[in-house]
């Protein structure tokens, strides 16, 4: 008895005709616009299993679900639905391909993103500009500077939708080429000579100074223990062990710092590239 309303609800959804499905799709779109994502997903989930559904209606369902998951930052699901939109629905397919490629790029599946953009044939000049911008972004994320350079000859920077982001991508390209190439071995050598100097060299200046001061403090206490009580005293052994641990740890940490710093810089650049790839997509399609 308790499930009766639910059964009535399911019955209403059973075997809807084409017109009713279209109305339900409009309702799902309304839910999407109102950001009622859970409700929209539920309605679309019920529609998906309707026997009378046409291919274009199925495309609409995948397109809406792709958008819902994209807005909820669930990119893996978003890609699945965007990729399911068929070529029959031209406008929806276009948007789905661009957003799918961008989502792939965001998830660091750059080869797949590149393939999607290479195989896409733009329908007008705006899409052509957009495609070139997305490809440029993907090549920069890939750090394939040769391909990025070759694309720059095709980019005119005249379209108002993409021109600013095209300039921004070029700025990121300069940042990548001018990025200092610091060696972990140099950091190791510096920290061996002066504790903390390797971290300073890696760009973590505060940590470098701090490590140096702690090393000096422990070193002085170890020296004091040695000077007053001799090399077999507990005081000397304790402080010299602490000093040695810190010294060795700092050498290893300096090499690691170079890698961490490089990773952080690259991630900052990548975030900016993805941002520049995303802005025109929203301008054109939303």
């Amino acid at each position: 008895m308790r499930r009766l309303p639910f059964l009535v609800f399911i019955f209403l959804f059973q075997n809807l005709d084409g017109q009713s499905i279209s109305k339900e799709l409009l309702f799902a779109q309304h839910l999407l616009v109102k950001k009622n994502y859970k409700e929209a997903t539920y309605v679309l989930g019920l529609l998906k299993h309707q026997p009378a559904i046409t291919s274009i209606q199925r495309d609409s369902i995948h397109y809406f679900l792709g958008n819902i998951y994209y807005n909820q930052k669930n990119l893996a699901y978003s890609i699945t639905h965007f990729d399911s939109v068929s070529a029959l629905s031209v406008r929806m397919r276009t948007e789905a391909i661009f957003f799918s490629a961008f989502s792939h790029a965001y998830l660091k599946k750059l080869n797949r993103a590149e393939q999607q953009m290479i195989h896409y044939t733009p329908l007008d000049s705006v899409e052509q500009h957009l495609r070139l911008l997305e490809l440029s972004g993907i090549y920069l994320l890939h750090r394939n500077l040769k391909k990025f350079d070759s694309l720059q000859r095709l980019i005119t920077k005249t379209n108002f939708i993409t021109s600013q982001q095209e300039k921004d991508l070029h700025t990121q390209y300069i940042k990548i080429t001018e990025q200092p190439k610091k060696s972990p071995w140099v950091a190791v050598a510096l920290s061996t000579l002066i504790p903390g100097a390797g971290k300073f060299y890696a760009g973590q200046k505060g940590q470098g100074v701090y490590t140096f001061l702690i090393s000096v403090v422990l070193g002085m206490q170890a020296w004091e223990g040695y000077h007053k009580d001799g090399p077999s005293s507990v005081r000397f052994i304790a402080y010299s062990s602490l000093f040695a641990s810190l010294y060795i740890g700092t050498i290893w940490g300096s090499a690691f710092s170079v890698k961490v710093r490089r990773y952080q810089l690259n991630e900052t650049i990548n975030d900016q590239i993805l941002f520049d790839m995303h802005i025109p997509l929203r301008t054109v399609f939303h």
Partner: protein, 271 residues
């Protein structure tokens, strides 16, 4: 013939609207909140019923699913100046309640003030108690106490004030706890109501000072300065910050207990 059809359509329309609303209501009544939300939203989309009432019902579904922020946002889609006074009051009350439950106390007080301003003819003890609880959450105990005393007089209640109890009279001052622990290690924790932690903090810092003193006396100046004094400095700062945290924690506990007392009064009023 056309006239006949039109009459039929106009007679059928209210029946269908009623049936659809009934379906949504029964889905809600049986705890199928997501489906009920869909149906309420469908009615809103079709424009078949009063939007304020539907939004209110949808917010009930979200509240039942503990999605308080979404419930509040749903209510904000309503036109607060449309509908009967009782419906308008429900919109204000539910907005305030959902804001309170989602921890947005400023928004809660705003909605309560709006209700007082736009619907002065409606006095609800629950809204007043909600205001008192919100003031408690904002640690504005003196204002909450004043409002509570006014509430008791207005509704001729014989209930005793929870603000009289010693434990609810005053909240701990986290800044004071921090300063106290800086000057006298462990005292801030003691003030915050955690004597065990206070004693531990005092013991650690006292032993570090002793170590520093003994080291200096025996000529171990580096060990005394760096290990003794250095570690004492670090523990002193850490202990003071911990005292600050403990005072805040204690305040949260006090407010929860205080609001539980207010909730008891609310349940007595319901009875």
């Amino acid at each position: 013939m056309i006239k006949f059809y039109l009459i039929c359509i106009f007679l059928c329309a209210p029946f269908f609207i009623k049936a659809q609303t009934k379906l949504a209501d029964s889905l809600f009544a049986t705890g199928q909140y997501l489906q009920a939300r869909v149906e309420y939203e469908r009615l809103l989309y079709l424009g078949l019923s009063y939007p304020n009432e539907l939004l209110l019902k949808k917010s009930y579904c979200l509240k039942a699913q503990q999605q308080y922020e979404e419930a509040y946002n749903t209510l904000q889609r309503a036109d607060f100046f449309q509908g009967s006074d009782s419906l308008q009051f429900k919109l204000y009350y539910e907005s305030a309640l959902n804001a309170y439950l989602s921890g947005k106390y400023d928004l809660c007080l705003n909605k309560i003030q709006e209700e007082y301003y736009y619907l002065p003819q409606i006095h609800s003890p629950f809204l007043e108690l909600l205001e008192i609880m919100t003031l408690n959450q904002q640690q504005n105990i003196s204002e909450a106490k004043k409002k509570f005393n006014e509430f008791v007089i207005r509704h001729h209640l014989s209930t005793s004030s929870p603000y009289v109890a010693k434990k609810f009279r005053k909240l701990k001052n986290p800044e004071r706890a921090e300063s106290m622990s800086h000057l006298l290690p462990g005292v801030g924790q003691l003030y915050a109501g955690y004597p065990g932690r206070g004693i531990t903090s005092l013991a650690i810092q006292a032993s570090l000072v002793t170590f520093a003193g003994v080291s200096f006396i025996n000529g171990y100046y580096f060990s005394g300065a760096f290990t003794g004094v250095g570690l004492f400095y670090m523990f002193n700062n850490g202990g003071a910050r911990h005292a600050h945290y403990l005072a805040e924690k204690k305040n949260r506990e006090i407010i929860t207990k205080l609001n539980n007392e207010i909730k008891k009064i609310a349940s007595e009023i319901i009875k």
